[in-house]
């Protein structure tokens, strides 16, 4: 490689890194300035000590876990069945899973409120549990495109049909096949879908705000509108969470020893 090309490469790389890092550094730096004149973690301490932060954050974590569980329960069997028995249905299923990217969350939530309001045939919004459930359904729909794609890609790396038949010939029923053969072999894919879902649910605003649930997204918005330093500290925390998720995806992929080589 010529000196010129190498130099250009480095310049582009440095520019790109600067483009991402400078605003983050600025953000972090500002978040540390809550105490006049010195750097301190005051803003972080305030945020983490805020009972509302703890309540909304744990609420959203629980919702994220519920959403992941529902997503896995719906998507793994569906993607498996489509790959195994109904390959003709794949474009349709893919189209369906892409709809949440096209239909805004606000449309979904208004649809929910119209369908499941207190005077409807299934008054889910009448109780807190019902509304929580509705919110989890909504989250599952929003996460569907990511979950389906991640899992479908995972299924592509294994020979679904033959593994299924091998398990069947050894006496396994459908539940055993899904839980002991298919799921463990697409686990890295499921987990990357799960982490994406987690990131989506933690930051989601529209559904939670309009269903009036005490989630992290609306809290973020409230803090951002009313406090000087705390929102920046929160942003750094949010970044840290997302990066931790991405790091976990990497770790999971690296440490799944059996998926290193495929015949």
């Amino acid at each position: 490689m010529s000196l010129y090309a190498r130099l250009t490469g480095w310049i582009v790389l440095l520019f790109g890194l600067g483009y991402f890092i400078v605003p983050l550094v600025g953000l972090t730096e500002f978040s540390l300035k809550a105490r006049r004149g010195v750097y301190s973690f005051d803003a972080y301490a305030k945020i983490i000590g805020d009972p509302e932060f703890q309540a909304t954050f744990s609420y959203s974590v629980v919702m994220a876990l519920v959403t992941i569980a529902m997503g896995v329960l719906i998507v793994v069997p569906t993607a498996f069945w489509v790959r195994l028995k109904m390959p003709w249905a794949r474009p349709y299923v893919e189209f369906l899973t892409l709809l949440p990217l096209v239909i805004p969350a606000i449309v979904i939530v208004f649809g929910y409120i119209r369908l499941y309001n207190t005077s409807s045939f299934l008054p889910l919004t009448g109780t807190a549990t019902g509304t929580n459930l509705l919110l989890a359904f909504g989250y599952t729909v929003l996460a569907l495109p990511y979950m389906y794609r991640a899992i479908d890609t995972g299924l592509r790396t294994i020979d679904v049909a033959t593994l299924t038949e091998a398990a069947q010939s050894l006496g396994a029923g459908w539940t055993t096949i899904l839980t002991r053969v298919i799921l463990p072999n697409v686990l890295p894919a499921v987990l990357s879908g799960a982490f994406l879902t987690f990131a989506i649910v933690i930051g989601e605003f529209t559904l939670a705000a309009l269903l009036d649930r005490p989630a992290f997204g609306p809290y973020l918005q409230r803090i951002g509108a009313n406090k000087p330093y705390e929102p920046f500290a929160l942003s750094v925390i949010a970044f840290a969470i997302t990066w931790a998720c991405m790091g976990l995806i990497q770790l999971v992929t690296r440490f799944s020893k059996h998926t290193k080589a495929q015949p």
């Binding site: 033959t162 069947q168 015949p263």
Partner: protein
């Protein structure tokens, strides 16, 4: 009554009929090969026995019990696939123990059986490895052990050697046969490789276009093929046409077409041969112990094998020779 009975089995995919009136009785402990070109329906028959395909009509009975209505996981049939199909997330030992675990066997029972199976396939020390750490031949042996571990009633082998290289293929097929004899397990082996089928089977079913053309021992299939397809598909063949008076080389053989194996045709006049044909040598291939000669006689190309003898050099290309064969070695073709 046979242990495994397949009666009037038919299978169509839409308008496309892939298996037609297939009948077969397999005795307990017998090793049967389904041999045929790709698309002849042999794999479909195997998959119907396994339960992965539903027959359009017909019956499959194992030990007198009709299994057509049963799901694959209820049939207690072991299967080995061309693509190994080991579970990549499980170790070799866990793969072999999978079937027993499903059956709810106790842990020490599973461990004992897995140890026994790994010893049987000659890989006693590899229980802790993952499939991707094994060679193709080792993976296929593990797949065999996994299929055998739950003591299936019937073992099905779906072209298990096709993905392996030639040397491993020969050693593994002998090993499979030895293990099968040892355990006395009823086995159906699907292959498109005639040499494989001839060398390890008790009986062979030659299939063509969804029909079982001929069922017989390797010796019968090779020496007395009953249809033109079987004669052509199994082994090499020389075709002879009788003349208008039903004679070949002046010897009365009857009307129609006949065939003879390369080893039935001799260079020069053999003692027991009654048919003698003048021929021109076209090609000579020296293969070591055997010399394969191709010659033209009466317009037809004829291949013949002779053993190498240090004191007799092979015939020269272009030279005129006499070929002889016994009329008893002629195979009439239908």
């Amino acid at each position: 009554m046979s242990y495994l009975e397949i009666a009037r089995l038919e299978k169509s995919f839409g308008a496309n009929r892939v298996v037609t009136d297939f009948n077969l009785g397999v005795e307990q402990g017998e090793f049967i090969s389904l041999l045929g070109p790709s698309g002849c329906g042999k794999t479909t028959v195997l998959r119907m026995v396994a339960g992965f395909e539903r027959p359009s009509s017909g019956a499959i009975r194992i030990a007198g019990e009709d299994v057509v209505g049963k799901r694959p996981n209820q049939r207690n049939i072991g299967m080995v696939f061309q693509a190994y199909a080991l579970f990549p997330n499980l170790t070799v030992a866990e793969n072999v123990g999978f079937g027993l675990k499903i059956k709810g066997a106790r842990r020490n029972e599973i461990t004992a059986r897995v140890t026994e199976m790994l010893a049987l396939i000659g890989l006693p020390d590899l229980g802790g490895r993952y499939p991707f750490q094994l060679s193709g031949g080792q993976q296929q042996r593990v797949a065999l052990a996994r299929a055998l571990a739950p003591k299936p009633r019937v073992l099905l082998l779906d072209e298990p050697l096709s993905a392996l290289d030639a040397k491993v293929r020969v050693s593994l097929r002998n090993e499979i046969r030895a293990i099968q004899r040892d355990l006395g397990i009823t086995t159906i082996f699907v292959t498109h490789d005639q040499e494989e089928a001839l060398s390890i089977s008790d009986r062979i079913v030659v299939m063509n276009a969804g029909i079982a053309d001929q069922v017989g021992t390797p010796f019968e299939i090779y020496n007395r093929p009953t249809t033109r397809f079987v004669a052509n598909f199994v082994g090499q063949l020389n075709l002879f046409k009788a003349d208008g008076t039903g004679r070949i080389g002046g010897v009365a053989v009857g009307q129609g077409d006949f065939a003879a194996r390369p080893e039935a045709v001799h260079l020069g006049r053999a003692a027991e041969a009654d048919i003698v044909l003048p021929a021109t040598v076209e090609e000579v291939h020296f293969l070591g112990s055997v010399i394969r000669v191709t010659a033209t006689a009466a317009g037809a190309r004829i291949a013949l094998d002779t053993f190498n003898r240090p004191d007799v050099p092979p015939p020269a290309v272009g030279s005129t020779v006499e070929l002889s064969l016994s009329s008893r070695d002629l195979i009439p073709l239908k």
